[in-house]
Symmetry: none
Subunit: 143 residues, 4 copies
């Protein structure tokens, strides 16, 4: 399996921010992690406050750590709050219960994750998917 | 943009505590942070117990980190508890969901934040605004 | 034993910074802790970078935690590095091996500590003593 | 003072990595922080292992927190090991005693820092300066 490259990670960041500007989103922080949960590329737009990186990273790390996009994790947490609030503490806050953390796959294998924070969870996730699409890594786009 | 000075930060602290004594508030802790979230000035009144500093700082840092006064953050948290409880863990507890954390602006740009803890959130916030007014930094006072 | 008051702590800060400006010291951070190691007052001068508060606090907390001014702790650490480097980790970095952390006593009893960082350790300590003198708390001044 | 923009931070990263590839440097991690020490942009080259980001960030944060490039901090630490090893613990490891952490100034005011890790400290620092030059932010280049 070919690992996620810096070039691909930067294409995700660039594509996500292009989409955000096109839709007039709030200022965003965008991070891309490799399969081990380690950052590859990151950008925080002018006006995005400093917790946005922490939250974006928590989304991406949470998706990798649990093996599911944070949209799914948020749904699970809503139905089992006591367990997932405990998990948040267990993993040192490296999980976030809101859409915007999306796994990156190549040929069906997880090679990383993208996390975005700054606007609504739905908007953050849309921008993340736009970034994956721009990088040619949006699995669901396959014909 | 001119950064928040120590002189201004001390004026905020002095003004907030003068207001607190004038209204007979509980003993308070007052902290003023610069735009990067780093403390500039702090005072804990006689009788204010030691978590009051931690809570005051969490209010001020939370306001800066999210870009909104903690009155607003408290409202958001009430409507999306799972996400915001997770955020609190993600940022190491450096956010507090109660009024009393107020952004400091100059010419519309955030240059810091004040955080107060000790009485009710409403009273804490009133004292914070009194401190900003005394320092000539309460934007809403503009005619 | 009467606890260190906010008024006394602020007099220490004011006196220390007046002395610093009089001698043309580098920008300083000054913190005053109570006997339990909890901050009572703090000021960071314009131009003092943000680690200065952390170091000032480590000096003051270290003095309280070990029961000796940091001038003494620095001498001990020079003679027993392995032990004291380990202690630094044990206490989470809340100790600093340089002058500038000075115990505050009333009638022979420790009621707090002052910590200063920004210039040389010697200068930091001189300013701390000037602050204690201004507040009427420099034991060695007794006739 | 105009804050460091994302566009400038990305120009620093791009310029630093272009210089690194031109000289055949080892794979690098490059991070750019704002004046408050919060990340604005980051890239980790293919083959750069995961501690490289932590070290790059420690260089940049250490430069900001102490107000000096890490080349200077490394020299100071060599002459006062007990104090600086303690400082490293006090600030949670957010300082690194090797060249490669360089302050970013605009009109003489510090607006951020760049940190690079992956090759020798000297090479890391050269690449950092190349990035600043590419972004038009290398003060020493002024005629």
């Amino acid at each position: 399996m070919t690992a996620l490259s810096l070039s691909e990670a930067q294409a995700i960041v660039t594509g996500a921010l292009a989409d955000a500007r096109g839709r007039g989103a709030q200022p965003l922080a965008v991070i891309v992690l490799d399969a081990g949960g380690h950052p590859v590329a990151f950008a925080r737009e002018d006006g995005a406050t400093f917790f946005r990186l922490d939250i974006a990273r928590a989304k991406a790390t949470g998706a990798l750590g649990m093996g599911a996009d944070t949209r799914v994790l948020a749904q699970r947490a809503a139905g089992n709050a006591a367990f997932y609030q405990g998990v948040a503490v267990t993993v040192g806050g490296e999980i976030a219960f809101s859409p915007g953390g999306v796994l990156v796959r190549r040929d069906g294998t997880v090679i990383g994750a993208v996390g975005i924070s700054g606007d609504t969870g739905d908007c953050d996730e849309d921008c993340a998917r736009a970034g994956l699409r721009a990088a040619g890594l949006l699995a669901e786009e396959a014909a």
